[in-house]
């Protein structure tokens, strides 16, 4: 890696949209954690620095408020973050010669937004692509942790009625889904998810997530031939 002013500035410029997004969303997740579960800023730091996952940062507020079986936590984490398992595919070749510790850090910080910027890889000519990507990864990671911790600190320090702030998580998921629905091939799987979750909710109102995931996976595998046909179109 070779850090120059030019490449660091280019990374920063590319990361500005992420800066705004992560600070705002992290802040909301941090407030929620402080107000709903009462967990301190140290937990906000520990969870955001180690998992680096937006949806998870919101969901864990429920788990930090009402004790949940560790199996549920593991399974839900797998299903919301399963997409990460494929993010490495376009990066395997490019990262082949990275020292293992650096590679581990790049993998740890591989969020939706960081992945998009690293795949885009618009490093300035004559500069080192890996330096550019590493700087983006570190900046994005930093924004996220600062957002969550600042939110948790604010949630503890400022007295205000936070009732209803948990809608931020609902809105986050709706926005992600609305963007995904622009891609035609995402529509059928979204319907499967909706149907599966409604079944899960009807059968197990108090513990809907695991049954819903099982129903959804079964449906997706059963409908594979039809969904893949629509994929090919």
């Amino acid at each position: 890696m070779h850090f120059t002013r030019r490449v660091v500035l280019a990374s920063f410029r590319a990361s500005v949209p992420v800066l705004l997004g992560y600070l705002a969303m992290g802040f909301a997740a941090g407030i929620l954690l402080a107000k709903q579960s009462g967990a301190g800023a140290l937990w906000a730091f520990a969870t955001s620095v180690s998992s680096v996952s937006g949806a998870l940062q919101f969901l864990l507020v429920d788990w930090f408020t009402h004790p949940t079986s560790l199996l549920t936590i593991a399974l839900v984490t797998v299903s919301i973050n399963l997409r990460y398992a494929l993010y490495g595919l376009p990066l395997i070749e490019r990262w082949k010669h990275l020292p293992w510790l650096l590679k581990a850090y790049m993998i740890l910080t591989l969020t939706d937004e960081t992945f998009a910027l690293e795949v885009e890889n618009k490093f300035p000519e004559g500069e080192d692509s890996l330096t550019y990507c590493f700087t983006i990864a570190a900046l994005d990671h930093f924004y996220w942790v600062v957002g969550v911790v600042a939110g948790a600190l604010a949630g503890h320090a400022v007295e205000f009625n936070a009732k209803g702030i948990d809608f931020a998580m609902t809105a986050l998921f709706m926005v992600i889904l609305l963007d995904q629905l622009q891609t035609r091939t995402n529509r059928a799987p979204a319907l499967v998810g909706l149907g599966g979750a409604l079944c899960g909710l009807a059968i197990f109102p108090q513990n809907m997530l695991i049954p819903s995931i099982v129903i959804i996976l079964t449906l997706l595998l059963t409908l594979r031939s039809r969904l893949e046909v629509s994929h090919a179109r």
Binding site: G21, S50, A85, A168
Partner: protein, 112 residues
């Protein structure tokens, strides 16, 4: 199920979330670093799971909404409409999320 939110439970929960998320992210590097191709079924599930799970999580977020008694899910309905319409119009995630959350907070705190 654990009886209480203890430090030990929070530590375990944090560790599990980290291990699972990091494990998923490293999976392809470990499994397909040598140039082997992932099986078709994995690629298929990886391609369709995200919209399915996000849709399921939206249902999960609404699981405690009361439909049969007052306010009959009206705050949720209005805030959802705000979020969806704003997003279809502006396509700006931050605006959609912040405005609809504020609408929802006002509705549940002041109106209903």
């Amino acid at each position: 199920m654990p009886a209480d939110v203890t430090t030990e439970y929070l530590l375990l929960a944090t560790a599990i979330m980290f291990l699972v998320t990091f494990g998923l992210r490293s999976l392809v590097f470990l499994a397909f670093g040598g140039g082997r191709k992932p099986p078709q079924v994995i690629l298929y599930i990886g391609g369709v799971i995200s919209p399915a799970i996000i849709a399921a999580l939206i249902v999960y977020c609404f699981r405690n909404t009361t439909l049969l008694s007052r306010p009959h899910g009206l705050p949720e309905l209005l805030a959802t409409a705000t979020c969806v319409l704003l997003h279809l119009w502006k396509r700006n995630p931050l605006i959609s999320i912040i405005v609809s959350t504020i609408v929802y907070m006002i509705l549940v705190q002041r109106v209903f």
